[in-house]
């Protein structure tokens, strides 16, 4: 990529102190958020006890719902999420000084505990939060596998087991939705397109702290008795569930508000914040992956919020959206859920695909193969994924006449998805493979995604799905996609962008140990899980027939190998972050913009917005002619290729 990095001085800052509510509002942080959240939850609990009829049928659900909403609102107030609007109402909008304070200027590490608008801080916050959520989900996965190591409910009773599977499901879904877009979509993408921040920095901070607010009711589900419906919480089972379901509904709805705000922000950033010359066909492919995912999430995720709101209404207000004796139907839940549920798979997948392709070009030292076809494929996936949802409902009896059409759309989506392999192979082809850790994850992704994709084709076929639906075969299939493909893309992204986020290399040797453990563990766990499913083991069962004892035991062993790999990965991340080898500005000699700015990245990324004159994939090509940026004739034009060569020589 040819870019110009002008070195004009930044405009002088206004000298006066800001008016962001003076001292109090500036002192708000995570701690005050927790205090205010607990306080408002307590107030909500007391108020609902004194105002509502405690003999009513729905009393407990009403109290639980109001209390958890109290927590969310209180936490956001306490951390200062509403300072902007409050000041605006008081007629004292934020000054530039205030904005810089909000962005964490001169705050040091404290800014990671605050409502911080700097997209890089938000990215790091998401990174840590993702690790925590995935770790919690992983511990639950181990508990599930301990239960299933032998048949016969030998570890916990079905009530607790059902809570395990439901919480494992939702934590992993939440974790994976944010796993790539959260850390790297926020930290990397704005720099990639030459922006100084996201389009809406305060909404960016809000989206992250909403995720934290959502995590508390989600984890509180255990404290109030768990849920027994799986993460898909099919009504009417979820209507009759304990108050844990109210916590679940409030938590997930909060999370969906978070993803929607983040999605609006990312799509707007993509459309409006690209720097001069960053035309749509010069945008790095990772940015396309994040943006298409965010746009799809904007369409898909609200369905779940609607479904959960109706569910809360059935539970706490006595309506009957999902109750057949009141004129409702379980098919309403299933449709709303899967209208979200299937696009959501691609919301999770697309950023990982973008990251894998980005890594492939850098480590094959070649341009991205078939850029236009890949972008078209991503957009095709977004479009098609909105009309495949009922393939999750082939066996429900809802609309047998639509089984054929939904089989058609589902099989069609294999075409744009297959383009990913064309692009990956084409990029690697004749490459000079720099076999560093990130490239390992690219090959791991190829291996697993073939298996995850092919097994999806069985399930798209209605007669086969009539046998496989609701079995461990389905579970193994989507774990090959989520763990084998998305997690591999995410870990590859960690290895790749770690030097930019932390200034250090991710330790290569430990990283490889983690890779091979996770890779081997995935094969062992999920291939034997395919066999359990083929033999006739249903999913979400706490016990099973003795015939499947061997394959389940093997799956349990494999799962612990994955966990061992992930613990080593977490250890590697922590130790490399603290005392890893210094990596410098552009250790991978990449041509995308984020590697051209210094590490650590300065507060507003670029002193003067760069001007882009070509796409970032000019490997093996003569550098295009240099051009001075418009409006900055004094700026020193720099080609990235030339910069890389200078570094090589020095």
């Amino acid at each position: 990529m040819t870019t110009t990095m002008p070195t004009a001085p930044a405009p002088a800052q206004p000298a006066h102190r800001g008016s962001a509510g003076g001292g109090l509002m500036r002192r708000l942080n995570f701690g005050t958020g927790v205090l205010a959240g607990v306080a408002l939850a307590a107030v909500a609990w007391l108020l609902s006890h004194s105002l509502l009829d405690s003999a009513g049928t729905f009393f407990q659900d009403q109290v639980a719902t109001i209390t958890f909403i109290g927590w969310v609102v209180g936490f956001l107030l306490g951390i200062g999420a509403f300072n902007g609007p409050i000041n605006w109402f008081r007629g004292r909008d934020l000054t530039h000084d205030d904005e810089l304070y909000l962005a964490g200027k001169d705050l040091g590490p404290r800014r990671y505990w605050k409502f911080c608008t700097d997209h890089k801080v938000v990215g790091v916050q998401y990174f840590v939060m993702t690790m925590i959520v995935l770790f919690a989900g992983g511990v639950l996965a181990m508990l599930i596998r301990i239960q299933l190591a032998r048949p016969g409910d030998h570890f916990v009773n079905p009530q607790i087991y059902n809570a395990f599977i439901g919480m494992h499901g939702i934590l992993m879904i939440v974790g994976l939705i944010v796993a790539v877009s959260g850390p790297f979509g926020n930290f990397i993408m704005p720099i990639m397109i030459g922006a100084r921040d996201m389009a809406f920095p305060r909404l960016n901070a809000l989206s992250f702290w909403l995720l934290v607010a959502a995590a508390v009711p989600l984890l509180a589900v255990f404290a109030v008795g768990g849920i027994s419906d799986g993460w898909s919480t099919y009504a009417p089972l979820s209507v009759q569930d304990h108050v844990g379901m109210d916590a679940f509904a409030v938590g997930v709805t909060t999370f969906i508000i978070s993803t929607t705000i983040a999605g609006v922000n990312m799509v707007t950033t993509f459309i409006t914040m690209r720097t001069k010359g960053m035309k749509l066909d010069r945008v790095p492919i990772f940015t396309w992956g994040v943006t298409t995912s965010a746009a799809l999430g904007l369409y898909a995720m609200p369905f779940f919020a609607v479904a959960l709101t109706l569910l809360l209404s059935d539970r706490a207000l006595g309506t009957s959206f999902y109750l057949s004796f009141g004129g409702g139907t379980d098919w309403l839940w299933e449709n709303l859920f899967w209208l979200m549920g299937h696009p959501e798979v691609y919301v999770i997948l697309l950023p990982a695909v973008g990251a894998v392709l980005e890594i492939a070009t850098v480590f094959a030292r070649k341009p991205l193969f078939g850029y236009n076809v890949v972008v078209g494929g991503m957009i095709g996936i977004v479009g098609l994924s909105t009309i495949v949802w009922a393939h999750h409902m082939f066996t429900t009896g809802w609309a047998p006449a639509l089984n054929g059409p939904f089989m058609l759309t589902t099989e069609l989506i294999s075409i744009p998805t297959g383009v990913v392999f064309l692009a990956l192979l084409g990029t690697i082809w004749q490459g000079r493979l720099w076999t560093r850790l990130p490239l390992l994850y690219v090959f791991g992704f190829v291996w697993n995604f073939i298996i995850g994709g092919v097994t999806g084709i069985y399930l798209s076929d209605v007669p086969v799905d009539n046998q496989m639906h609701g079995t461990m075969f389905v579970v193994a299939h989507f774990h090959y996609v989520f763990v084998g493909s998305v997690l591999f893309g995410a870990l590859g992204a960690v290895a790749f962008w770690f030097p930019k986020m932390t200034g250090k290399y991710l330790d290569e040797r430990m990283g490889r140990v983690a890779f091979w453990l996770v890779f081997a563990g995935v094969q062992v766990t999920f291939i034997s899980m395919f066999i359990s499913g083929l033999m006739g083991m249903q999913r979400r069962v706490s016990s099973y027939a003795h015939a499947m004892a061997t394959t389940n035991f093997i799956s349990t062993i494999g799962a612990f190998v994955i966990m061992a790999g992930m613990i080593i990965e977490a250890y590697t991340i922590v130790t490399s972050w603290r005392s890893g080898r210094e990596a410098g500005r552009n250790p991978w000699r990449s041509k995308t913009l984020e590697w051209q700015v210094p590490t650590p990245v300065p507060l507003e990324n670029f002193e003067v917005p760069p001007v882009v004159t070509s796409d970032p994939y000019g490997y093996g090509e003569a550098a295009p002619p240099l051009e001075a940026p418009a409006g900055h004739p004094d700026a020193t034009p720099v080609t990235v290729g030339a910069a890389a060569k200078e570094e090589l020589q020095s």
Binding site: D153, P158, S228, D229, Y234, L237, K276, L323, S324, D330, W331, A364, R365, K366, P367, F369, V373, T395, G397, M407, S414, I415, G418, L422, L425, G426, I428, W429, Q430, G431, R432, L433, T435, V446, I450, V454, I457, D461, V462, P463, V464, Q467, M535, G536, Q538, R540, V541, Y544, V611, T613, Y617, G618, Y619, G620, E621, P624, P625, E627, A630, P633
Partner: protein, 259 residues
């Protein structure tokens, strides 16, 4: 691309990196070996691992699974063969300095079109086969000469033979005679699944759904609930006994008398 009128200095243009000769024979050999291993594996594993078919529906399902696996084998193996070849021949170091840059292949229109066409043809093949199998499954319903009501509730199945007083938790069926199950639920969503017969339909409260099968052999077959339905979902199981026509009649009469 031009942003200003400033005349641009022309940088020296080095020779583009050269492509290396490709040993196509090696790629084809790896591809064929992988395909052969996968095909043999599919033919051996699936029929052994899946339950032995007890209905025409299940028979067709097993055939379809094997057919799809055999079709997918060369496709997946092709990607693997390419990846293996790249890893064998194009590794260029893992130090801190990057290898020299590769040849700038950006696109290949014919290849892209061929790739898209082949995947489209595969999708059409899957669709046509799937629609055919779906039609065959649906045709089973037309041949049904008896009906059994199957009702799910937390956490057991109850079967009623319409026109009789017979209600049981372990139903008997005559071999070779097509039966339609009218399935419903008294509480939450369940899923009625006869494992060895490849037949599954949800039991929805307030709705009646149907599924038809033709049992093809005598034996005891598993019914499992395939939709999470609460505490004892895993134990919502029973058996269907497929017997000869005369045994079925005598069973029905005994049940009728004791009812």
């Amino acid at each position: 691309m031009t942003l200003t009128d400033t005349p641009a200095p022309t940088p020296p243009s080095p020779e583009p990196p050269a492509a290396r000769p490709i040993r196509w024979k090696e790629i084809v050999a790896v591809w064929l070996v992988l395909t052969a291993i996968t095909v043999v594996g599919d033919l051996v594993v699936f029929p052994r691992v899946m339950p032995r078919s007890a209905s025409t529906t299940m028979h067709l399902t097993i055939v379809t699974v094997v057919l799809f696996s055999v079709t997918a084998a060369p496709v997946g193996s092709l990607v693997y063969a390419g990846a293996v070849y790249a890893l064998r021949h194009w590794r260029a170091g893992s130090g801190d300095e990057p290898p020299p840059e590769g040849p700038p292949y950006r696109k290949h229109n014919q290849l892209s079109i061929a790739w898209l066409s082949i995947s489209a043809m595969l999708a059409v093949f899957l669709l046509v086969w799937g629609l055919g199998a779906l039609a065959a499954d649906n045709a089973v319903a037309q041949k049904a000469t008896m009906t059994v009501d199957a009702t799910g509730q937390q956490w057991l199945w109850t079967f009623h033979y319409p026109g009789t007083k017979v209600t049981t938790e372990t139903p008997y069926l005559p071999v070779g005679r097509t039966v339609t199950f009218d399935v419903t639920s008294l509480d939450v969503t369940h899923s009625f699944w006869i494992v060895q017969m490849g037949a599954k339909i949800d039991a929805n409260p307030g709705e009646v759904t149907t599924v038809s099968v033709t049992p093809t052999r005598i034996g005891d077959f598993d019914v499992r609930c395939a939709e999470l339905c609460g505490l004892y979902h895993a134990f919502m199981t029973t058996q269907i006994h497929v017997v000869s026509a005369s045994q079925y009649q005598s069973w029905l009469q005994t049940q009728e008398l004791s009812a």
